[in-house]
Symmetry: C2
Subunit: 77 residues, 2 copies
């Protein structure tokens, strides 16, 4: 199984969702990307369909927006 990518920006909603997702899927199956610290990956996230964080990009290429922490526009600011 390919890895999922969990995009977040350090917000409380993000951290809570990250813990839930790691607990459900397993840390070995997830790459965690902090977009506020890795702004060079925002473009990649947007192209994948990420409109807000936290979000999980699945191995099949679908994006699951998990609750709502911040929009990508907020992360860019």
């Amino acid at each position: 199984m390919n890895k999922s990518i969990f995009y977040h920006a350090g917000c409380p909603v993000c951290v809570s969702a990250e813990q839930d997702i790691i607990s459900l899927i397993g840390a070995d199956h997830i790459e965690v990307v902090h977009l506020a610290e890795q702004k060079e990956r925002i473009d990649e996230a947007e192209k994948a369909g990420v409109r807000s964080v936290p979000a999980l990009l699945t191995p099949s290429g679908n994006v699951l927006h998990l609750n709502f922490g911040a929009s990508i526009a907020d992360v860019k600011a």
Copy 2:
């Protein structure tokens, strides 16, 4: 590990998210509840914190709202 509960209402967003979640977590770890067909469980979902579907109630009691298909108010209608 206790099971998660995936609440949905048959909407296209719900079905897509259901397939992703089952693929990520495994069908054995999820109970799927169709709230439009099991309206007697809407109250339980609301008490757990579900405000829209699709949503995943984790074994730890947290609710992850996955994208947005319909509000609970819509499901009740």
